[in-house]
């Protein structure tokens, strides 16, 4: 009984802290927007992630086109290769892949940086100087995640489609205009909404989870490592869960179709 009580007490404490942190961060984004700090974070979170996100997107596009081509060729369905590749990249693979790669880089960076600031009393120093760490550290990072993850995700989608074209043309002998016609068919409002809502939510997850674990870190270097580890795992798991829930919501509740 004690273990269950402790588990639920921890769960409530954790969710309470997370909720309060997020609500306060939103309040600061509205009432006291820190332009300079936010731009710095947009650069670090977004611009700094360009190479790894683009690389992952290019190889994902190559692989998707290769796999679909091999499956569709025997049925003579290569004409719709562009549409199939584009649909899977825009709706699901693009946002999830970009966010998972971002999570490995950004969530870990945020958790370790804030965690280290916590254990070296820099966070306490902020409080002593009358600065709320949520205002200074959390809100700019969360805002940067909101803005930069969708931008990177869309750019990654485009590169994935381009690399898909390369495989479709070289391996599948699909003419480029036919491939692009299929891609254009896939660019429906519903697919694009899908591809924009998800990275927005994932941007929130990967930054807020990093901030949460950073803010909860205490102890020393070992604890910073543990927090960082937990943050990356939690962020990846929540991105996958959120991906399923958003897909379910859009398909079943809002009636989005392929």
């Amino acid at each position: 009984m004690n273990i269950i009580e402790t588990y639920f007490a921890d769960l409530f404490r954790t969710s309470g802290f997370f909720t309060m942190m997020v609500l306060r961060a939103f309040r600061y984004m509205i009432t006291r927007f820190r332009t300079r700090e936010t731009l710095v974070q947009m650069d670090r979170i977004g611009v700094g992630s360009i190479p790894i996100v683009f690389l992952a997107s290019i190889f994902a596009g190559l692989d998707m086109a290769l796999q679909f081509e091999s499956v569709m060729a025997p049925y003579g369905a290569k004409a719709i290769l562009g549409k199939v590749v584009a649909t899977s990249i825009i709706r699901d693979l693009g946002p999830v892949l970009a966010s998972l790669v971002m999570s490995a880089r950004v969530t870990s960076g945020i958790a370790s940086e804030i965690g280290m600031m916590n254990v070296t009393q820099q966070v306490e120093a902020l409080r002593v100087m009358g600065v709320d760490p949520i205002d200074r550290l959390v809100a700019p990072r969360m805002f940067a995640g909101f803005v930069m993850n969708p931008i990177l995700s869309v750019a990654g989608d485009f590169l994935g489609l381009l690399s898909g074209l390369w495989i479709a043309f070289l391996v599948g002998k699909v003419p480029a205009p036919q491939y692009w016609a299929g891609v254009r068919e896939a660019l429906t409002g519903e697919n694009m909404a899908n591809g924009l809502i998800k990275p927005f939510v994932f941007g929130f997850i990967l930054t807020s989870v990093g901030c949460y674990y950073g803010m909860r870190t205490s102890g020393g270097a070992y604890d910073v490592g543990r927090s960082t580890n937990k943050a990356v795992v939690a962020s990846a798991v929540w991105i996958l869960i959120a991906n399923f829930l958003i897909s379910k919501l859009l398909l079943d509740v809002l009636g989005f179709t392929l």
Binding site: M117, T120, Q121, Q122, E124, A125, R127, V128, M129, G130
Partner: protein, 240 residues
């Protein structure tokens, strides 16, 4: 004047240190001594208003710190300088940005005026040449001196709090830091609370001494009173 009236401090239901009754007159330095985990640093958190007393009152210059709201605390902390154990300098900022941090956050001073103030403070601690360096380029002693300068940035301090200011430093550097702390005190006539477990530094710095053992204050007094004390913990502590 700082006055502790039957103060107990702790976290949640857990009391870390209890029944503190002491008065620190203006311009004096009290050194808080005790073994690790005895609650020395917790007292500083009480003075800063980070921890509200579980019992009693902490009065600083007539204000009851536990009763201050957020706005009141912000104004109050402008007159309190805190020097953390390892300096706690922001490692993503230069020395100059660290010292000017409070001024950028809470004033609308132009950059030139802030830079003037930063340079004045760095001159005071003898480190003007490191203004553009990052904290990790500084030695331990330099970091403490920068931290002292940062603590004085808002305005001339009413109270200075030092949490283990010489821990981890070599004896020569420790002595330099102690001299600087005395210099700050004589220059600004600030009351100072110094937490340390080093009895030699304590005697260099303090006018009054408070020993904490097993969550309680076991002795408060001047150096002479401390040296004449028969309290076993104090005798053991000062004989080390």
């Amino acid at each position: 004047m700082i006055r502790f009236d039957g103060v107990s401090l702790g976290y949640g239901d857990r009391t870390i240190v209890r029944d503190i009754d002491i008065e620190v007159p203006d311009g004096q330095t009290i050194v808080i001594l005790g073994d690790s985990g005895s609650g020395k640093s917790t007292i500083l958190k009480g003075v800063l208003g980070i921890l509200k007393p579980q019992a009693g009152r902490i009065l600083v210059d007539g204000s009851d710190v536990g009763e201050l709201d957020e706005e009141g605390l912000l104004a109050y902390r402008q007159r309190i300088g805190m020097v953390f154990q390892e300096g706690a300098l922001f490692d993503s900022h230069t020395v100059g940005e660290n010292i000017g941090f409070w001024l950028w956050e809470h004033t609308d001073w132009p950059d030139e005026k802030i830079e003037d103030r930063v340079r004045t403070l760095l001159r005071f601690v003898g480190l003007e040449e490191v203004i553009d360096k990052m904290p990790d380029e500084l030695s331990g002693g330099m970091k403490r001196r920068v931290a002292i300068a940062r603590a004085m940035a808002p305005q001339d301090p009413l109270v200075m709090l030092y949490d283990e200011p010489t821990t981890g430093l070599d004896p020569f550097t420790s002595s330099t830091i102690c001299d600087l702390i005395r210099h700050v005190q004589s220059e600004f006539k600030a009351m100072s609370l110094v937490v340390t477990h080093d009895i030699h530094d304590a005697f260099r710095l303090g006018d009054l001494f408070m020993f904490i053992h097993e969550s309680r204050v076991v002795l408060t007094g001047t150096r002479k009173e401390i040296e004449q004390s028969n309290e076993p913990f104090v005798k053991a502590f000062i004989s080390i």
